[in-house]
């Protein structure tokens, strides 16, 4: 009899636990992440003030970037926007689906200018030698940051918690939230990248 009571009370507790989890999930879902469809112009202008190291690799973003919580690296809405920008501005015509083509790959485990956001922003905004055009006049600085966040995400060795939206087209490589760079890492022939980048 006592056993019966305890097993039924266990069931009641389990049910209550499940209901509690479901309710907390619903409440969390209700707090939808706010979307900033257009950044405040002063903030947007300030985001342009990145400081680069003299060799053009790495540096520090402006204070305002930390003040707004580094949204371009970690926020699904901005990553999705970056993914759309990647298609709209024809990045794929040189970089393919991220595995490169005419331009370098983002997924082979090597970052020519380092994986920091500032480097990627600078590459997109000001261009780089050997054919990378400058997008300064074609994209707003907010868009450049969004695109840089997306590029960093596909080249990241560790999948981020936030993921951009799914592909509407056929998948050609592992999805962004699976860490494609880690899966597709290619050390290449010895000596190709003698002094750049750690092995994941």
């Amino acid at each position: 009899m006592a056993e019966k009571v305890s097993s039924s009370s266990k069931a009641v507790f389990a049910l209550a636990g499940v209901l509690f989890l479901a309710a907390s999930g619903a409440i969390l879902g209700w707090f939808r992440q706010p979307r900033e469809l257009r950044l405040d112009p002063p903030l947007s202008a300030n985001l342009d003030r990145i400081k680069l190291m003299p060799n053009g690799i790495s540096g520090s973003p402006p204070e305002s970037y930390f003040a707004i919580g580094k949204p371009y690296e970690s926020d699904a809405w901005n990553l999705s926007q970056g993914k759309r920008l990647y298609a709209w501005f024809g990045c794929g015509s040189c970089h393919g689906d991220g595995r490169g083509g005419v331009g370098p790959s983002f997924l082979d485990g090597w970052w020519l200018y380092g994986p920091e956001m500032v480097s990627i922003v600078a590459s997109i905004r000001d261009g780089r030698p050997h054919g990378m055009p400058a997008f300064r006049d074609r994209m707003t600085s907010e868009q450049i940051w969004q695109l840089a966040g997306y590029v960093q995400t596909i080249g990241s060795y560790k999948p981020k918690v936030a993921a951009p939206s799914r592909n509407d087209d056929r998948q050609t490589r592992p999805a962004e939230n699976r860490g494609p760079a880690k899966i597709l890492f290619d050390e290449g022939p010895a000596g190709v990248h003698p002094d750049q980048g750690p092995t994941p």
Partner: protein, 331 residues
Amino acid sequence: MKTHRALPLSVLVLASGCGGYQSALGAKGAPAIHVEHLIVGIVAVCTVIWILVMMMLVLALVRARRSVASQATGSEKPLTVAVSAAIAATVVIIAGMTIASFYTTRNIGLPDSTALTITVRGQQWWWQVFYADSPAGPGFQTANEIHIPVGRDVRLRLESPDVIHSFWVPSLAGKQDLVPGRTNSLLLRAEKPGVYRGQCAEFCGLQHSHMAILVIAETQAAFEGWAATQRLDAAGSADPDIAAGQASFMAKPCAACHTVRGTPAGGTTGPDLTHVGGRRTIAAGLLETTRGSLAAWIADPQTLKPGNNMPMVPLTSIELRNISAYMESLK
């Protein structure tokens, strides 16, 4: 008191939906007229039947109260006759409505040959419209606006490159889905000249409600004139603002997604802008085409229509002014 005043008002509001340029009950095209006749016929028959049934019910209730005592002794013959008649009437009426529905469906189908074929591609969230090559001249492309000649059968080929949309211009024809990977057809025929509004009728994403289309039915001569204008390349202009706008348009990312025939701009992602200034609306019915609305749209498309596929492009105020003047000049 308030409800008394509100009632006639709400009836008026509801009744106003029965006319106008987007209404299945104010049909102006052959297929829609057939469907309207069917709806009105079925509603009329069902209304009469409903009234008869309610009258019988009331009669039965009243009679039952009066003559509970005499029930047992009565003969069952009248009841048998009544039930048999009701069953026979049901069979006849349902069969009649089925036959009417069958003939209506047959009447709104496509005939073997049509005067004109137009390809409509529904995209998130606008309508791309292709007019094929014809003896009168080469084909051309437009967006969110279909011109058709009055009194002629027009075949629409409906396609979709992304998700399922549905083409519905209630005043002219029934609904037809645009399904990725297949081509559906729909007969469009306007009996009276006019502007008829349609709306995507299958939820297709964030801006589904801002995906409208206009069908403009005009006389054969007016239609030929419109098509001849559309076939022309974009005209250049001596106006310095417009010329500067054109130069900015080509230098900025605009030309990567939009085509303006007669210029180097040849992008195919966005709507063809060769004659954008001549269209009544921009952004699929979102705004009337004016220089101001064009400028507002170019300045910040993501605030006006969040989620759409046009990015904001950094422009100086002078570039913005010139480009919107250029857009407006493309009649």
